[in-house]
């Protein structure tokens, strides 16, 4: 099992997935990856299940959890989810893998809807309140995979 978390801890809610990942660190190997762009493909192994944690910006109420199987993640399945900066988020990275004919990693994308992305640490109230449910959802997945 591999857990990869994306985001920037100095930009408000953008650090939410990193916080969730840090709570899982004692249970499973965790990679805090910032925003790796296409480099994400090097972080997701093909021979073990992966849990990808990120923050989403889709227009859903802040704190909403989005669960998408990794092999279905693409810009098309996330038409309005601007899931990462630099225009090359996890959807684009996996779509690139598909376009190149590479085998796709298996596992789950778990995203939490953010609200504010200002400078500095600290989550919005809505995201902070929903963080325990994201940790639970992550643990549920890890348990289901026998991690």
């Amino acid at each position: 099992m591999r857990v990869v978390a994306l985001g920037n801890p100095d930009r408000g809610d953008d650090g939410a997935a990193l916080l969730v990942a840090s709570r899982l660190q004692e249970e499973v190997p965790v990679v805090l990856a910032g925003r790796p762009g296409p480099g994400l493909l090097d972080l997701l192994p093909h021979d073990e299940p992966c849990l990808l944690l990120d923050v989403t910006w889709s227009g859903s109420p802040p704190g909403t959890l989005h669960r998408i199987p990794l092999d279905r993640l693409s810009p098309a399945t996330l038409p309005d989810l601007r899931v990462s900066s630099h225009g090359f988020g996890p959807g684009e990275a996996l779509a690139l893998a598909r376009a190149l004919g590479r085998s796709l990693p298996s596992g789950l994308f778990l995203g939490i809807e953010g609200e504010g992305y200002g400078f500095g640490e600290g989550l919005s109230e809505a995201v902070r309140g929903a963080l325990p449910s994201m940790v639970s959802a992550a643990r549920d997945f890890l348990e289901s995979e026998g991690a």
């Binding site: 920037n8 296409p38 990462s84 900066s85 630099h86 400078f119």
Partner: protein, 443 residues
């Protein structure tokens, strides 16, 4: 993209025409371009960009100078090394620290890694689709698998080098004021050589591939600005700044000569020379001002292209970046072969009040930082000038120059052409172009 044919103006397009290009991303890149043309004359060409460095300047006040190299790389996920090392250079000047040759070489090696990562990402995934007629890298990847795989492997070689040097791939943690908290072992670096040697060959191939792309014919009268790195190609070291056709500028004079001014049409400050001339920093500036300082293998690749210097066509920047990728791989290999370890890994000096300046070359251009600290080493004032904001006025001038050609185009074509030109400068916002939104008002 094919050879350009200057657009013939459609009389129906007379009157006022507004082209707005909205660029949005969640965090780092945020920008907008607005071109207003009335009766064939450009009335306004405004590129609005969001400037995270300004917020970080306030952030730093009251923090210890030792925290600065850990805070500033968070400004950008693409060039954290530049933010980190430019701050370190300014802070070391305050403390009177002169890094050893070994530490300087390790820093240069880190820059090579960052240049490889950033330039390869731009060349293969952001810029090449424009030349090959694809909307984005995903579409291009389906038809050019081998090319994209080559780019991804080159980028990974840069990532791995950065990870070994910085302790991790994103936002490196080992650099500090005075050197590195821990220097890598020669053995760990030597293990990277085979992949870097493969990368060098791939980079040489990239020069030939990019040089064969169909280019638009569009030249502009650039005033180039780049760090003068002495006998070396401008990367991490230099006490003065070279400017096309003008006297070099000492770092102490930076803010006096490269003036940032408020302009009525934009909330961002515009950098210009004292006489109002906009200028360009970045790969075209470095290569045009210092071609003889390139690594011999990069010089060889440059000669093979037959490219005329100075490079005045911004679309050719894709070839220039490819030449700089050759330089970065070749120099990284040389530095690793010559590395015997760095002991001590960092130098220390007593705290003292003062002010220091540093400038280095990010992949996309010159970065300058000035910090002032009190006797306890707490930051009193910081100034961070990033390359994209310096290039902004020049990019706007180029977009205005493009106006006669795009007047005859429909809005979709005109937007695309503007995007392509903006992308040629690899501004931080170029990464955000998947989120473009166009609004048109017709007069």
């Amino acid at each position: 993209m094919s050879e350009s044919k200057p657009g013939t103006r459609d009389p129906a397009l007379n009157g006022t025409r507004n082209i707005r290009v909205e660029m949005l991303t969640r965090v780092e890149g945020e920008g907008r371009f607005h071109l207003k043309v009335r009766d064939g004359q450009v009335e306004e060409a405004t590129l609005t960009i969001f400037e995270p460095p300004r917020f970080f300047e306030a952030f730093l006040v009251g923090r210890s100078l030792f925290e600065v190299p850990d805070i500033v790389p968070r400004i950008c996920g693409i060039c954290p090394v530049t933010y980190q090392m430019t701050s370190v250079r300014a802070l070391e000047e305050i403390l009177g620290i002169r890094p050893t040759a070994e530490i300087r070489n390790l820093r240069r090696l880190m820059y090579c890694a960052e240049w490889i990562e950033s330039h390869v990402l731009h060349v293969f995934l952001l810029h090449a689709p424009d030349f090959l007629g694809y909307a984005n890298a995903l579409e291009m990847a389906r038809d050019h698998k081998a090319l994209v795989e080559m780019g991804l492997r080159m980028k990974k070689a840069g990532n791995t080098l950065l990870e070994v040097m910085g302790g991790r791939a994103i936002h490196p943690v080992s650099p500090r004021v005075g050197g590195f908290s821990k220097a890598p072992s020669p053995k760990r670096l030597l293990a990277l050589l085979p992949e870097l040697e493969w990368g060098l060959g791939a980079a040489q191939e990239t020069v030939d591939v990019t040089n064969g792309l169909p280019m638009l014919d569009f030249e502009q009268p650039y005033t180039f600005v780049a760090l003068d790195g002495g006998k070396d190609y401008p990367i991490e070291w230099g006490e003065r700044i070279a400017v096309t056709g003008r006297d070099p500028v000492a770092l102490e004079e930076f803010e006096e000569v490269f003036q940032e001014r408020q302009v009525p049409q934009s909330p961002a400050l515009h950098a210009r020379l004292p006489d109002g001339t906009p200028y360009l920093t970045g790969p075209m500036a470095r290569l045009s001002l210092f071609p003889d300082r390139l690594h011999p293998l990069a010089q060889e690749a440059l000669e093979r292209t037959g490219m005329r210097l100075p490079v005045l066509n911004p679309y050719r920047s894709i070839v220039v970046r490819a030449v700089e990728i050759v330089h970065a791989f070749a120099e990284a290999i040389d530095l690793i072969r010559g590395y015997r370890g760095a002991d001590p890994a960092y130098l220390e000096a007593p705290l003292r009040a003062g002010e220091g300046r540093g400038a280095t070359e990010a992949p996309r251009g010159l970065q300058y930082q000035r910090h002032r600290v009190d006797g306890k080493g707490l930051i009193l004032e910081s100034r961070i000038v990033a390359p994209t904001s310096q290039n902004q006025a020049r990019i706007e001038a180029d977009l205005a120059g493009l106006a006669p050609e795009i007047l005859a185009m429909d809005d979709a074509q005109a937007t695309l052409r503007c995007e392509q030109l903006i992308r040629a400068y690899d501004p931080c916002i170029s990464c955000a172009t998947h989120f473009l939104k166009l609004e048109v008002e017709r007069g």
